[in-house]
């Protein structure tokens, strides 16, 4: 049945990760190198080799994800392992470094790795948190064709506003033509549109309608109702877009940083061998 990547297969990948970490920490504790612990000892090479292998394996996830209908394991196996083993790198690679940092390509590789893991950690947080919020925001039904829904409401607004004074009609027209959904990355991430023409129209129609009476007042009340529904829908759509953006945005850091990390790692390894 349904289970998240954290608890998947009864924490199989957490258990594997903890075993690797326990072994690495134990080895580090009992290892007594000449001088300070560093990457050049037998343990340093072992931990370095392990870290490099892990990085390459973790990066391979991008390829595995796109190889459909192959392999014995589920993609969720890979994802669960990706999360736990990825986080474990923070410890394994740090042990490999022997806590020696400096302004050099080695520390650059380390820093890039930390950034990749950091962006991944945000991704994990996003994956755990936002799908639920998104689902709650959507309610029981799928939002469906939101454009058709919004357009339908705009048509209703026009219909009602035809019999109302021009000042109202102009607002309704603006609400139809100037209302935007989506937009820049920031707009999407914020989940709001402070300049939303529909919201503005709602407020102003309400203010104007206070003075109306008779049939105009009736029509204005109906208009406010439709506009309020439209604004509510727009708010939900924008929230939906926000959650989707939050679910996606971290990948725009995670992936390029991974590519940079692979480059830095390659240089790190080559230069280390030049010391020999």
């Amino acid at each position: 049945m349904h289970s998240s990547i954290l608890v998947f297969r009864n924490f199989r990948y957490l258990k594997i990760t903890l075993a690797i970490l326990a072994a690495a920490i134990l080895a580090y504790a009992i290892h007594d190198p000449l001088g300070k612990p560093n990457g050049g000892t037998w343990l340093g090479y072992t931990l370095g080799g392990l870290s490099a292998a892990l990085i390459v394996w973790l990066a391979w996830f991008g390829v595995r994800k796109r190889r459909y209908g192959v392999g014995k394991l589920l993609l969720e196996d890979w994802a669960s392992g990706h999360v736990y083993l990825g986080l474990s790198l923070l410890i394994v690679a740090t042990l490999h470094s022997g806590f020696q940092f400096g302004i050099n390509v080695h520390t650059l590789a380390y820093a890039l790795m930390v950034l990749v893991i950091g962006s991944g950690a945000f991704g994990l947080y996003a994956y755990m948190r936002y799908p639920r919020l998104r689902s709650v925001n959507r309610g029981e039904g799928a939002l469906g064709d939101v454009w058709a829904l919004v357009a339908g409401m705009s048509r209703d607004c026009y219909e009602i506003a035809r019999d109302l004074p021009d000042e109202v009609y102009t607002l309704v027209e603006a609400a139809d033509k100037e209302t935007a959904i989506g937009g820049s990355v920031w707009r999407q991430l914020s989940g709001k549109d402070p300049k939303c023409a529909s919201t503005r129209a709602l407020q102003q129609v309400r203010d104007l309608a206070e003075r109306y009476s008779g049939r105009d007042a009736d029509a204005a009340r109906r208009l406010v109702r439709v506009l309020a529904r439209k604004v509510e829908l727009l708010t939900r759509i924008r929230k939906d877009i926000q959650y989707k953006a939050l679910l996606d945005i971290w990948l725009y850091f995670h992936i390029p940083l991974t590519v940079a990390l692979l480059g830095a790692l390659a240089i790190h390894i080559v230069t280390v061998f030049l010391y020999w």
Binding site: H2, I5, G69, E76, A79, P131, S135, A142
Partner: protein
């Protein structure tokens, strides 16, 4: 003096025309009498460009004329040409109104009074009969037509379609694309039409594409206007054209007037014929649809054969070599006729079939000659074919835990009916008890047989009842123990949503579900809360029976359901007589009590069952469910589907309803009794051993399955455009990368009108590892599951 011929052929359809061709080839003096001014009126009336099939594929064509699948125009053109070339003597506008006389000197009278005499008569008039005409005043207006060649011919017109059958609906829906269409239905619903067409027309009316007058009758027609009698008076409809599809007067009356007898009054019954197609009137032969063979190829073969029979040449039917090949597997080198006679003698179920029907039935069947102990099928296989024992015997192992409990069935018996009825996995393993000769018949042939021959259904039900009782209650029940229950047991069917019994009702017996599924609900806090889902193979109603109390829950059919109703008193006798059964019933009851108490505190879980049942999950065998709290909307499921199925995804993740964070995407549920299979002309839809319902490559793209599927999971697709290889994508960025088919497909849509075929989820039948969508979900949001598993207490309590 009337013209005299050796043979007069009435009707120029595929059979009559083929008979004429053969007669001409053999220099027999002949005449083909055609009512209209063209050949083969039934096919002539097909819609323009209709693709005509040449089924059954395996049957060879034996005719002087050619026939291959193709468009209506190509086929008719070819026939016209060949009729000419062979010099077939066709008389057009020659409607025969009377046939009298006897072998050697029949007299045929035409409508215009002309007469012919003939030694033999071949009747190939089909079943279409004469079209009913609009009878109201003004019905002869030139704007009234009785057929529609090409719906695209009309644009921007007001068109009235009269009728409520399939033809009327198909015309109305096709015309509504470019015209303002009204449909006039004499009744208040479209009950006569096929399910798919009914859905189509109801949707079109609901969307406002077509205006419908229900319970309306045409009162009069004047040019440009139709007046209707409607329940509240009269209504007038302005129209440019009226298309009346009022069906036809069946030709039975005419056939009977020729002296031909029908076996029953049933309007569907057909005259009895000799193997040479000769009727009870010697010298008068019947071929084609009227003889029970509605397919073009069969009819053409019969036309050829009937001429040979008349010439005294007792040729074997065209399917002889096929049956010969089939029977080769049998020991003893028997002839086809011998085997067929043997089957008729040994299998009572097939005795009521005519020799011709039996041959057709056998062509669809498979012969098995297992040795002792060979397995025929295994418990939990998802096959739904049906087996008959012609020779030998078989052991049915009904108890999963004890292989020594078996029922032996012998010559003339059958097995496999439980799976056929329930549409579920096999409930027992069957193996051959000795070297045997078995006949395996596919689901479709069996359903056709059950529907057309009442005796088959009755015989099957009787045997099935005993087996179902054993299988579902207790395998070790003795015949004596079952006997009292059997006497009162009856099969009761419930439509989807109907109540089997209500909370508070008095106990009236136990219901064993043999097909479909039910929900159990109780009133809690003034609301009906579903507390359980019970699929086929289980029973309900035992609680009131055991506790001698009133019903404490309401049971409703989740889908169309069939139950075996067992009267309380006799059921009590049976239970009292068998301590083993008593404890079995008690054990199930206690499980039910625990479940229901637990569900009491979790109304939300009950609501999930209710929601999913409303989505039709009750008839699913395997359904894709997405947990929205885990789904990150990456669409990797859709991408995986497209990548493993030629670039076209068969699932739509986002579409579909959601309840309590469970999303039901648009994807096949592999129904117990698949709606898509109901009306597939080439029989291209099958169920694999593990339950996957799939479409094979014989699909002709007719779209019936797409229309019949209530869940909208079948699409017609002409395949994805070719995409550049992985290398050119990586090096030069041409085309889409892995999983990026959607945008590419849209941008590179095939515009050449390449033929479309139906595509649907096949649960990755041929992909090792199973469903690619589920396997490609990185977060575990997508699962495929059977409703029973999903509705289990442990699963629901985790959500409730």
């Amino acid at each position: 003096m009337a013209e005299h011929y050796q043979v007069a052929i009435v009707g120029s359809g595929p059979c009559g025309m083929s008979a004429g061709g053969r007669a001409s080839e053999q220099n027999m003096s002949h005449v083909v009498l055609e009512r209209t001014d063209h050949l083969s009126d039934t096919i002539y009336k097909y819609q323009k460009g209709k693709h005509v099939m040449a089924t059954p594929d395996i049957l060879p064509l034996r005719s002087s004329m050619a026939f291959d699948a193709g468009t209506r125009e190509a086929i008719l053109g070819k026939w016209d040409e060949q009729t000419d070339k062979l010099g077939v003597n066709v008389r057009y506008n020659a409607e025969v109104t009377e046939i009298s006389g006897e072998k050697g000197s029949f007299t045929l009278t035409l409508k215009n009074g002309e007469t012919f005499t003939a030694e033999h008569v071949v009747l190939g008039i089909g079943l279409q009969g004469n079209l009913r005409k609009l009878a109201c005043p003004g019905g002869d207006w030139e704007g009234v037509q009785y057929q529609l060649d090409d719906p695209d011919e009309y644009e921007g017109e007001n068109i009235v379609v009269i009728g409520a059958g399939d033809a009327a609906i198909e015309n109305a829906v096709a015309l509504a694309k470019n015209n303002n269409v009204y449909i006039i239905n004499r009744r208040d619903e479209f009950a006569r039409a096929k399910d798919g067409n009914r859905n189509l027309i109801e949707a079109a009316i609901e969307n406002g594409d077509i205006t419908c007058y229900h319970s309306a009758d045409p009162a009069s027609v004047s040019p440009g206007k139709l007046t209707l009698t409607v329940p509240d008076g009269e209504a007038e409809v302005e129209c440019d054209r009226i298309i009346a599809r009022l069906g036809a007067v069946a030709p039975r009356k005419f056939v009977e007037s020729c002296g031909i007898e029908f076996p029953s009054k049933d309007p569907a019954s057909l005259p009895e014929l000799s193997p040479q197609y000769e009727s009870n009137v010697p010298g008068l032969y019947i071929v084609g649809a009227l003889a029970g063979f509605p397919l073009i190829k069969q009819a053409m073969n019969q036309g050829y054969e009937v001429i040979e029979f008349i010439r005294g040449n007792d040729i074997k039917p065209a399917d002889e070599p096929l049956l010969e090949e089939m029977f080769k597997a049998l020991p003893g080198g028997r002839s086809v006729d011998e085997v067929i006679t043997h089957i008729r003698e040994n299998v009572p179920l097939l005795r009521s079939l005519t020799p011709l029907q039996l041959r057709e039935f056998l062509l669809d069947a498979t012969i098995h000659v297992p040795n002792a102990n060979d397995v025929i099928f295994e418990r939990n296989d998802y096959t739904n074919s049906f087996f008959m024992i012609v020779e030998g015997s078989a052991n049915i192992h009904i108890d999963e835990n004890d292989p020594s409990i078996k029922v032996t069935v012998g010559v003339g018996d059958f097995f496999g009916e439980i799976g056929l009825i329930a549409g579920r996995r096999r409930s027992a393993t069957v193996n051959a008890a000795e070297p045997s000769f078995l006949l395996e018949s596919p689901r479709r042939s069996m359903i056709k047989l059950i529907n057309s021959v009442e005796a088959v259904e009755r015989a099957m039900n009787e045997v099935a009842l005993v087996r179902q009782l054993r299988t579902y209650l207790l395998p070790s029940l003795t015949d004596e123990a079952i006997q009292p229950v059997l006497e009162t047991a009856e099969v009761r069917a419930f439509k989807s949503g109907k109540v089997l019994f209500k909370e508070g009702d008095a106990d009236d017996g136990v219901y064993l579900i043999r097909k479909g599924s039910v929900t159990v609900s109780r009133r809690i806090g003034g609301k009906d809360i579903v507390i359980a889902y019970v699929p086929a193979g289980h029973y309900v109603g035992e609680m009131a029976f055991l506790t001698r109390a009133r019903r404490n829950a309401t049971v409703r059919a989740a889908i169309n359901t069939e139950t075996i109703w067992l009267e309380s008193e006799s059921f009590r006798q049976m239970v009292d007589a068998s301590p083993e059964l008593r404890s079995e019933v008690e054990r199930r009851l206690l499980t039910r009590v625990i479940e229901s108490e637990s569900m009491h505190t979790r109304p939300e879980a009950g609501n999930i069952i209710q929601f999913l049942v409303e989505q039709g999950v009750g008839e699913a065998t395997d359904i894709l469910l997405i947990d929205e709290t885990l789904c990150v909307a990456c669409d990797n499921c859709e991408k995986a589907c497209a990548e493993t199925h030629g670039g076209v995804s068969r699932l739509n993740r986002e579409a579909g309803p959601t309840y309590a964070r469970i999303h039901v995407p648009t994807s096949c549920r592999h129904c117990e009794h698949p709606h898509c299979m109901a009306d597939c002309p080439p029989d291209a839809i099958h169920r694999a051993v593990d339950g996957e319902v799939y479409i094979d490559e014989s699909c002709i793209g007719c779209g019936n399955c797409e229309r019949n599927c209530p869940y909208g999971v079948i699409q017609l697709s002409s395949g994805a455009p070719k995409k550049p290889g992985l290398f050119s994508w990586m090096m030069f960025g041409s085309g889409p990368g892995p999983g990026e088919n959607k945008v590419w497909n849209k941008a590179n849509k095939k515009e050449d009108g390449s033929p479309k075929v139906a595509v649907k989820c096949d649960m990755c039948l041929n992909v090792p590892g199973g469903s690619a969508c589920v396997r490609a979900c990185p977060t575990g949001a997508a699962i495929r599951v059977s409703p029973e598993d999903f509705f289990s207490l442990s699963e629901l309590s985790a959500r409730g």
